[in-house]
């Protein structure tokens, strides 16, 4: 078993990077890896409620983020600095995630065996 940290740094709509990163995170968890997830930069917008990706021809994969805890992915951190940049508050998050300082995220990155960025 390895500690795998999956960092999302791209916006939810407009590219498919996060969708394929999410597939990787869930598959890693189902293969018994210890998976943690970080949202930083524009990827903090994943946490926004009421998104309708299908209106612009994307699959609504965002709903799947709500299933992270079912896959035993319990560490889900949102970069506080990025959230502030995009005017996002913790009370608005549409799935279970925790606002985290740069230091907390640094620590998670250092402790992981592998860190992949999507």
């Amino acid at each position: 078993m390895k500690k795998v940290c999956v960092i999302f740094r791209h916006s939810p709509i407009g590219n498919t990077s996060s969708r394929e990163g999410l597939d990787f995170a869930m598959l890693s968890a189902s293969f018994e890896q210890e998976v943690s997830v970080v949202f930083t930069d524009e990827a903090v917008l994943h946490l926004l409620p009421e998104q309708q990706p299908e209106l612009v021809g994307s699959k609504d994969y965002l709903a799947t983020f709500k299933a992270l805890s079912l896959y035993d992915i319990d560490t889900v951190l949102v970069c506080q600095e990025s959230a502030k940049q995009f005017g996002l508050k913790e009370s608005e998050f549409n799935f279970e995630a925790e606002m985290a300082s740069v230091k907390q995220i640094q620590l998670l990155i250092q402790q992981a065996n592998e860190v992949v960025v999507y």
Binding site: T16, F24, L27, F31, V116, V117
Partner: protein, 140 residues
């Protein structure tokens, strides 16, 4: 060849290489190829090269660059043949991008397939187990 530091020369390490960059329009796949060549020439092991995201485009046997251009598809298949290297496509990433093996074409009722048989269609599970079993994961 660059001077090698002894401890690293003696210990054989296992690498997994992940290629996310497409075959034309980015240099990621080229750099992944050069890196893989070096890993092998230094006597290390490559568990497999896993093609994900736009990286699956590297497996299309229909890639036809002009004769004065670099043919990355051919370079990967050549390296795989010479070193018995395991090239694996993520099948779902490939299907979404119109990269199909003969079997995929058959199952999806398509008239043609384009993935070279040097590339195996696999699942993300192969990436995950590859990462678990390797000393280093390097993404391009």
């Amino acid at each position: 060849m660059a001077p090698l530091q002894e401890p690293f020369f003696i210990v054989m390490n296992k690498f997994i290489i992940q290629v996310n960059g497409t075959v034309y329009g980015s240099t990621a796949s080229f750099r992944a190829l050069r890196f893989t060549e070096s890993v092998l020439s230094l006597g290390h092991q490559v568990s497999h090269v896993f093609f994900y995201q736009d990286g699956v485009m590297n497996s299309s046997a229909l890639i036809c660059p002009a004769s004065d251009e670099h043919d990355l598809h051919r370079a990967w298949t050549k390296l795989a043949t010479e070193h018995n290297l395991h090239l694996v496509n993520c099948v779902s990433a490939a299907l979404r991008r119109g990269v199909l093996s003969a079997q995929d074409a058959n199952e999806n009722r398509k008239d043609a397939f384009n993935a070279s048989d040097k590339f195996t269609m696999g699942g993300l599970g192969e990436l995950v187990t590859g990462i678990e079993q390797s000393d280093r994961l390097i993404c391009f």
